[in-house]
């Protein structure tokens, strides 16, 4: 019963995110000329309407505002889906890959919405940020879908809410940061048609988004790995055993550490750092799909197949 509602909320959330994407895309199509983006130090929300006074832009601005509101609605539906799933199964709703992806994408959407308040100039990146979220959720809701049910004894521990939630939230953050770095490279490179590139936020704004999200994501991800080690010590007899999932998590951690070092190294600060961030994101995605589904290990909880 509740499980059914959870599934409906999930589907509704995906649909609403798609609608938000469409609205944002429409908002950008409505902008015909190069749009001045304010790159003040932490521009205030008041900057945006000032830049969009002409009527042609007013339509676009309304659509973009609606896009943000609709995304907020989607996030609420998404949250309702997660909560209903938890109530239906009477456990923390992070017991298989479907639930994990649901939590990651929810974290990514919330990260994006919070980021919009801090860096309003990043708003025009919305369709590109929502795209991977919608793709992930579609995959999660179809190929990886798992019916609501209890989990194996090893997963019944108070460390599950701590470790897996921290991993999911940090993964969501890292996705937003990684997408910002991809957009940064597209924006600053020449490979993208100007019509698309010019409608994105400036390279500087994208770079700032990537970094500001990362400085929250990295400590949280570190905490998640440490919490996992503490749990493994109680569950598997050792705190670290180079299980494939652990190894790839370690690899991703090292890559993100390299990103932070690159930010402090002359000549690596922007372009190369962005590439490193993308390498990190690739590793995280690899860890999510390949290691979960193909490589056998202790972390085989995907519940698929």
């Amino acid at each position: 019963m509740l499980a059914q509602y959870s599934d409906w909320f999930y589907i509704a959330a995906v649909a609403v995110y798609v609608l938000a994407m469409v609205l944002h895309a429409y908002a950008q199509a409505a902008v015909r000329t190069r749009r001045p983006v304010l790159v003040g130090a932490g521009g205030t929300p008041a900057d945006i309407p000032a830049a969009e006074e002409q009527p042609a832009r007013a339509v676009g601005a309304r659509a973009a505002n609606m896009g943000v509101s609709v995304a907020v609605l989607g996030a609420l539906l998404h949250l309702a889906s997660i909560v209903a799933r938890g109530l239906a199964t009477e456990r923390w709703p992070l017991g298989n890959m479907y639930e994990f992806i649901s939590m990651i994408t929810f974290a990514a959407v919330v990260t994006w919405l919070v980021m919009l308040r801090r860096v309003p100039a990043a708003r025009s990146a919305a369709p590109w940020v929502l795209l991977p979220i919608v793709v992930l959720m579609t995959l999660g809701g179809t190929a990886l879908y798992t019916a609501a049910g209890p989990v194996m004894p090893a997963l019944r521990s108070y460390w599950l809410p701590v470790h897996v939630t921290a991993i999911a939230i940090s993964s969501g953050l890292l996705i937003v940061s990684g997408v910002a770095s991809i957009l940064f490279l597209l924006r600053s490179g020449s490979g993208v048609p100007a019509a698309i590139a010019e409608r994105m936020p400036t390279a500087d704004v994208l770079d700032r988004v990537a970094y500001r999200v990362m400085i929250v994501a990295f400590p949280l991800y570190t905490f998640a790995v440490v919490a996992g080690a503490v749990w493994a010590e109680a569950a598997w007899g050792r705190f670290w055993g180079w299980d494939p999932k652990e190894t790839v998590a370690f690899v991703a951690w090292v890559i993100y550490a390299a990103y932070l070092h690159a930010r402090a190294t002359a000549g690596w600060r922007t372009g190369r750092a962005a590439w490193i961030n993308i390498a990190g994101l690739t590793t995280m995605i690899f860890n999510l799909f390949f290691i979960n589904l193909v490589v056998a290990g202790l972390h085989s909880y995907a519940g698929v197949g």
Binding site: G40, A41, G42, P150, M152, P153, A154, R156, S157, W159, R208, Y211, R212, I215, F218, P219, T222, F223, V226, A229, V230, W231, E233, A234, A235, W236, G237, R238, F239, W240, G241, W242, D243, P244, K245, T247, V248, F250, V251, V254, I255, A257, A258, L260, H261, A262, R263, A264, T265, W268, R269, T283, I291, V295, G297
Partner: protein
């Protein structure tokens, strides 16, 4: 031009401790760890490694030679992380010294031209320079600040320089030093720790007295097995509960144990009660005892034609974890035979499958993991088990070569439920008495792991401080204005770290001193 050996060393050291080298080493570490996840590893699963050798007979030996099946023990992996550690220490120690020095020096003097800074503002305010100076001092509470007065163009100019966010560098240093500590703790565990696993039938006991007591034992490099922490353990009861679909719901074992001091005092009759469960090991005397797995041990009684009886109960191994279908071999030697040849050729083995909840029918299989309706499907083999040829033998199987050579022959085949028996051609009767349970227990010792946890927490604190705190500078210059009772205020701000947004804070400070809506720059 000739370079002195000292210069070469110095350059090498500088190269090794540069940020760029650290970056390269981090990449190398990431790339080097990957095969550990993608290729089967001996430390995780020997069978998969063997399978890989079978599948790739040409490639596997070459890969093995460069350590690709033991990545985390490979010398090249160690080389990378040791270089990274040297680079880290070489980078962080000078920075710690520098930071300590910075903590004792006052903030840098106010730049002559504040208008060149990324954040700056200027404007006249009400109040004499003395009054404004008081306001500046109040505003800079919490900042490390210094005040200077300079004579310029005949008038006194007051300058404030302030800096905040020293904890950022402290966090950075803490993070890196804690990483070193964490690795040292990890290494200590690998050197002085050990891990043994053993199967114990319910009702039996086990003592941590030596490597031979274990079914498998992984010793640290500095552990020879002669000085294991004395400790004894007895399995009193084991309970597993399952959901209707056969998925496990819970496992727990009620045990008794005796600590090192119990054993030293000789109080071996007393057992301290404890419960082992999933996610809940027993921690005592620096040892951790885990409940790892469980299974069944069928019990058979053999009555030989001369009336002598022998009972055998040994663990069978799980073939299908979801239904606990098990296989094994319970072996017997006929008692009371003095002739060596005859003794050797009249051995018995009961091999086959055990189903805790039998499907019934001719082909026995298990349909549920709990002990509801047990049945065995066994072959009885008689002859020479090959136990005397000096080779080790699996306790779960008979030596297949003995069957192929005809030294061991099948003499009966039957499906038995508890209480049922079969009679062999020579009058020997084999009875399936019932089933006991066994638990797999792991005993671990890792003297480094508490330190690893302490350093991991320090790593977390360090990284959080160093990423969230912003190091920033703020300058104020006060100069009496032409009109009496007014002061010209010049402000400047500089974020010393990556762009993490100093703007908002600077705007707030500016608004405090100059009032709102006076944006310039």
């Amino acid at each position: 031009m000739r370079t002195s050996p000292f210069a070469v060393l110095r350059n090498a050291w500088r190269g090794l401790t540069s940020m760029r080298t650290a970056l390269v080493l981090l990449f190398l570490l990431a790339v080097a760890a990957l095969p550990g996840a993608l290729l089967p590893q001996r430390s995780l699963n020997l069978n998969l490694v063997d399978q890989y050798f079978t599948d790739h007979p040409d490639l596997a030996p070459l890969m093995d030679r460069i350590g690709l099946f033991d990545v985390f023990a490979a010398p090249w992996f160690a080389a990378i992380y040791l270089m990274l550690m040297v680079s880290l220490i070489g980078c962080v120690l000078p920075r710690s010294v520098e930071h300590l020095r910075a903590l004792r020096t006052p903030p840098v003097a106010t730049p002559r031209n504040l208008g060149r800074l990324p954040h700056h503002a200027t404007g006249p305010v009400d109040g004499t320079p003395d009054e404004v100076a008081d306001r500046v001092r109040a505003l800079l509470r919490g900042w490390r600040s210094a005040e200077r007065t300079e004579e310029r163009a005949g008038a006194g100019v007051r300058e404030f320089s302030a800096e905040k966010g020293y904890l950022r560098e402290a966090g950075n240093v803490l993070f890196h030093l804690a990483m070193v500590g964490l690795l040292v703790g990890f290494a200590a565990g690998k050197l002085y720790g050990y891990e043994g696993s053993v199967i114990i039938p319910v009702g039996n006991q086990f003592c941590n007295s030596g490597i031979l007591g274990y079914d498998s034992f992984r010793a640290g490099l500095r552990v020879d097995g002669t000085e294991l922490e004395p400790f004894c353990l007895r399995i009193d009861q084991f309970e597993a509960s399952y959901r209707a679909d056969g998925q496990a719901a819970d496992y727990r074992a009620e045990i008794g144990y005796q600590t090192t001091s119990d054993l030293d005092e000789g109080s071996t009759a007393e057992w301290r009660p404890a419960t082992l469960a999933v996610n809940a090991p027993l921690r005592v005397d620096g040892l951790r005892v885990y409940l790892m797995d469980h299974g069944y041990a069928p019990r058979f009684t053999v009555t030989f034609p001369d009336g002598q009886q022998r009972t055998g109960e040994i663990q069978w191994r799980v073939v299908d974890p979801s239904t606990l279908l098990s296989e094994g071999a319970t072996k017997f030697e006929r008692p009371g035979i003095t002739d060596e040849e005859q003794r050797r050729t009249s051995q018995l083995a009961i091999t086959g499958l055990f189903a805790p909840t039998s499907s019934g029918g001719d082909v026995v299989t298990s349909v549920f993991p709990a002990l509801r309706d047990p049945e065995v499907a066994v072959d009885v083999l008689r002859g020479d088990l090959g136990l005397d040829d000096g080779r080790g033998q699996s306790i779960f199987q008979v030596d297949q070569r003995q069957i192929e050579s005809g030294a061991l022959q099948r003499v009966a085949r039957a499906n038995l439920v508890p209480g049922q028996e079969i009679t062999l051609d020579d009058g020997t009767v084999i009875r399936f008495d019932g089933v006991n349970q066994w638990v797999g227990v792991q005993v671990s010792h890792d003297p480094g792991q508490d330190w690893v946890l302490v350093f991991a927490i320090a790593v977390l604190i360090g990284i959080t401080l160093s990423l969230t705190i912003r190091r920033r500078r703020f300058w104020v210059r006060l100069q009496a204005a032409d009109t009496e009772g007014r002061t010209v205020v010049e402000l400047g701000g500089l974020a010393r770290t990556d762009r993490a947004g100093y703007g908002e804070e600077f705007d707030r400070l500016r608004a405090e001193l100059l009032g709102p809506e006076k944006k310039d720059g």
